[in-house]
């Protein structure tokens, strides 16, 4: 049997409602697709049976959505939404507790002159900074601590090390884990290996005390689209990660030449849309790297709006992995409220 488009499974899954990928019902829904992941061969057939992607058409659609003109009230809405979706990130070898604390403060009150400014979604750090961030944010900030793990960004260590890296970050208080897939295994066609590793990392996200009651960190799976190289690979990887239990799929580490682009993100939006249609499980999307301006961020939100609609227009389902983006959003926000163009001296630099 050759598996074709996922919609073929609509009959298998009796959906009364859509469930979140991180909710307790998601594993049951995924079990409906157990035959797809039963063997390496079955998984390969399924992934290669997904519809192809025409690169030119995809890029043209993304560019077309990029010409939307978002003005006045719509712009104000989009800017605040974008701020609330930011995973404010520092992932440098030079990071220190001081740097991370400053970032946490910025995340909680992005614009000290305007307390109406929303806070960001998460602070994203390396595992050894999780405890610092956790402490700096406290328990009531509403801001998550996200940690990269699995030997980010290359991921070139043995699996036990990746799992230990993950467990360590979770134990230190991470709410979210951003793992990297084994791109080498994916590109050489060892899909089951990638699948099993994501499952194992997902397991490592469970906090001591068991999986009940939402005591697992949410798992974001980073593809490194720039290394996957083709859109067909990105679509296959999206399904692979979602089948393995990803709560979010994420474009890139920000550490390679090609990171998030409008077309590769649009393709992942289409994948989560189709996955929800087929399986009834909703997965989030996080473009990361290279999104620096409000104009860019709004283009991504337009893509979310016109591809997925209201259900994904929340920090629960869409994030920006970014650092400098926040200040540009703040300057635009000030411009909207005062009517004057702002400047870099009127937003905080940390």
């Amino acid at each position: 049997m050759v598996y074709r488009y996922a919609r073929r499974y609509a009959g298998l899954v009796t959906m009364s409602s859509v469930v979140p990928a991180y909710g307790p019902d998601a594993p049951g829904r995924l079990a409906g697709l157990a035959d797809v992941t039963a063997s390496d061969a079955a998984l390969r057939r399924f992934l290669h049976g997904l519809p192809g992607v025409d690169a030119v058409g995809l890029e043209a659609r993304a560019a077309g959505l990029g010409t939307r003109s978002i003005k006045t009230t719509a712009k104000a809405y989009a800017i605040d939404l974008a701020i609330s979706m930011i995973d404010l990130t520092t992932l440098e070898g030079s990071d220190t507790p001081g740097k991370v604390r400053a970032l946490c403060a910025k995340g909680r009150r992005p614009d000290p002159t305007d307390p109406g400014t929303p806070h960001v979604a998460a602070i994203c750090v390396y595992p050894d900074m999780v405890a610092v961030a956790r402490e700096a944010l406290g328990e009531d900030s509403g801001i998550s601590v996200a940690s990269v793990a699995t030997a980010f960004p290359a991921g070139r260590v043995a699996r036990p090390v990746k799992l230990a890296d993950t467990a360590d970050a979770v134990a230190a208080g991470a709410d979210e884990i951003d793992m990297v897939i084994d791109r080498g295994a994916f590109l050489s066609g060892r899909y089951m290996e990638v699948f099993e590793e994501i499952r194992a990392v997902k397991q490592a996200c469970v906090r001591p005390g068991g999986p009940e009651g939402g005591t697992a960190a949410h798992l974001k799976v980073i593809f490194e689209n720039g290394e996957l190289s083709t859109y067909d690979n990105i679509r296959r990887c999206s399904w692979l990660a979602m089948l393995a239990g990803a709560d979010f799929i994420k474009t890139s580490t920000g550490k390679v030449a090609v990171n998030a682009t409008p077309p590769n993100t649009l393709l992942m939006l289409e994948a989560v849309r189709d996955f929800r249609d087929a399986v009834g499980v909703q997965v989030g999307v996080k473009p990361a790297g290279g999104i620096r301006t409000s104009k860019d961020a709004i283009k991504y939100l337009v893509m979310v709006n016109e591809t997925l609609g209201d259900d994904w227009l929340s920090p629960d389902w869409f994030r920006f992995g970014a650092s400098s983006l926040l200040n540009d959003l703040l300057m635009q926000r000030q411009k909207l409220s005062t009517g004057r163009y702002s400047g870099p001296d009127y937003v905080t630099v940390d």
């Binding site: 074709r4 488009y5 919609r7 519809p51 192809g52 992607v53 025409d54 030119v56 058409g57 995809l58 043209a60 659609r61 010409t67 939307r68 003109s69 978002i70 003005k71 006045t72 009230t73 719509a74 712009k75 809405y77 989009a78 939404l81 289409e270 939100l301 337009v302 709006n305 016109e306 609609g309 209201d310 227009l313």
Partner: protein, 515 residues
């Protein structure tokens, strides 16, 4: 989701964003860039002038029914005056070195680029099409077309149409209302490059951009009489086509009028190119890139409100993916934004005229009466102006009128097929043959289908793409001759049917004695 009929409301900005979290605020392009005069004349021999009998007509904005201007209406006497001016101008224009003619065309291309925002807004006002399209499609292509043919003017001997290619003389050109300025460019650029002079009649519902183009000709310093613009109705077009001193007739429009023109020119020396109607099949195989195919289907039929002769108005979808494609298509149609053409976020603008709206409405009603199932997304249409919601019909067979007749509106008929052979048979089962689409990831199937489809333009894994270098034109009753590319020169050169530059035929030398 069955048979949802669109509502009409006073709120033009309603649409897919109504009641949504992220509702786009109005983003109107400014009208201030267009300085509209209350009235416009004919453009003959380098001057704006009244019609001989003083007749005028009004041109309205189809999105609001607002009168934009009063325009002189050309009659037979005006046609004669314009042809005489063109004939007189031909003596020197045809003799001008090609490089000099080319420089005039380059000037025109540049001025079009400079004034492109003004022209885009004007076109959206007069035609009703969205500013997004006039700005991003029409105007860039207009400039590109002049730029492309400008370069041919001094290279005609290398075009493969004879060693010493000569112009025909006076070209009488009649263009439609769907792409007013772009169709003007398709007609005028190759004609002038080849050394002909022109009398052009724009459509009665969209005369303004052609008259602004007349002003561009003046700015470019184009010699008097080389381009003459005659706004008017079908009677003026008929008089132009029939005028004995016209050497070349170029027409884009309906197949019915095309037939009448072919009859009129019978037995004359006039060379003719006709770009007529279509009923293109857009064929989606089960291995198609589905998301891009859906975009292509949408672009194929809803681009320019479906007022496109090469529109992909028949969707032929393989039965095994019918449900999947239709679900995705309906979802996508639900995001189309119908409304104010000048709003930068509008995807679908106004129907060009009350007459065209009536025709679309009648054909859609016939579709329902014949048993096809009608569907349109929830869609609030403005209360003034001419509007038609993007609509699709399922359960359509080859026997339905909506599968055979050109609707020339945002109405898609969905048919199914099981095998490639059946797809070819159904696609070709029409008197038209202008364009076709193929969606499949299998290369050899693309090439096989492309060679079997009887259509002048085949878009594989894309649709509705245009380029000045790419020949465009139909098979069968979609007309003859090609516009665009090297092929587009053939219709404007004597002896051009002969690629080798063999002996000059007496016919054409006879035509040009005394010139």
């Amino acid at each position: 989701m069955a048979n949802q009929k669109p509502n009409r409301s006073a709120d033009a900005s309603a649409g897919p964003s109504a009641g949504r979290k992220f509702a786009y605020a109005p983003a109107p392009e400014s009208r201030a860039v267009v300085d509209l005069a209350p009235s416009y004349g004919l453009f003959i021999d380098g001057e704006f002038t009244d019609a001989a009998d003083g007749t005028v007509f009004k041109t309205v904005s189809p999105s609001s029914e607002e009168v934009l201007a009063e325009v002189a209406r050309a009659g037979e006497a005006d046609v004669d005056r314009a042809v005489k001016a063109a004939r007189k101008a031909f003596a020197s224009w045809g003799a001008l070195p090609g490089a000099e003619r080319g420089k005039y065309l380059f000037r025109i291309a540049r001025i079009v680029q400079e004034r492109s925002r003004e022209l885009a807004v004007l076109e959206s006002l007069d035609n009703g099409k969205p500013i997004r399209e006039t700005r991003d499609v029409d105007l860039p292509l207009v400039a590109a077309h002049f730029f492309y043919y400008a370069g041919w003017a001094d290279k005609l001997a290398y075009a493969g149409y004879g060693r010493d290619p000569r112009p025909l003389g006076v070209a009488g050109q009649v263009i439609p209302w769907n792409f007013p300025l772009l169709m003007l460019a398709w007609k005028i650029a190759p004609a002038l490059a080849a050394g002909n002079t022109v009398v052009l009649k724009p459509a009665e519902t969209t005369p303004l951009s052609a008259l602004f183009f007349a002003d561009i000709c003046r700015q470019a310093g184009l010699p008097r009489g080389v381009v003459n613009i005659l706004p008017g109705y079908g009677d003026a077009g008929a008089a132009l086509v029939a005028h004995p001193d016209v050497d070349k007739v170029a027409f884009t429009g309906s197949t019915e009028v095309g037939r009448a023109i072919a009859r009129t020119v019978a037995g004359s020396r006039k060379k003719v190119t006709l770009e007529l109607g279509g009923k293109a099949a857009n064929i989606v195989f089960d291995d198609a890139p589905i998301d891009q195919a859906v975009e292509g289907i949408v672009d194929g039929i809803f681009f320019n409100q479906g007022h496109v002769c090469c529109a992909g108005s028949r969707l032929l979808v393989q039965e095994s993916v019918q449900e999947e494609v239709l679900d995705a298509l309906k979802r996508r149609m639900g995001t189309l934004r119908v409304g104010d053409p000048l709003d930068k976020n509008t995807d679908i603008g106004a129907i060009n005229s009350a007459e065209q709206l009536a025709r679309i409405t009648a054909l859609a009603e016939a579709g329902e009466a014949e048993g096809a199932e009608r569907w349109a997304p929830a869609c609030d249409l403005p209360s003034a102006g001419y509007w038609f919601a993007p609509t699709l019909f399922t359960g359509v067979t080859q026997a339905h009128r909506i599968a055979r007749e050109e609707v020339f509106g945002p109405v898609l008929s969905v048919l199914t097929f099981r095998t490639p052979a059946e797809a070819v048979e159904k696609a070709n089962n029409t008197p038209y043959g202008l364009s076709a689409g193929i969606w499949t990831e299998k290369g050899s199937r693309i090439l096989s289908m492309a060679s079997k489809l009887r259509a002048g333009v085949v878009w594989a894994n894309t649709f509705n793409k245009f380029d000045p270098t790419s020949p465009f034109g139909g098979y069968k009753e979609s007309g003859y001759g090609r516009e665009g590319g090297r092929h587009g020169l053939e219709g404007y050169l004597a002896d051009a049917a002969d690629l080798t530059g063999g002996p000059a035929s007496e016919k054409e030398s006879a035509t040009h004695e005394g010139v």
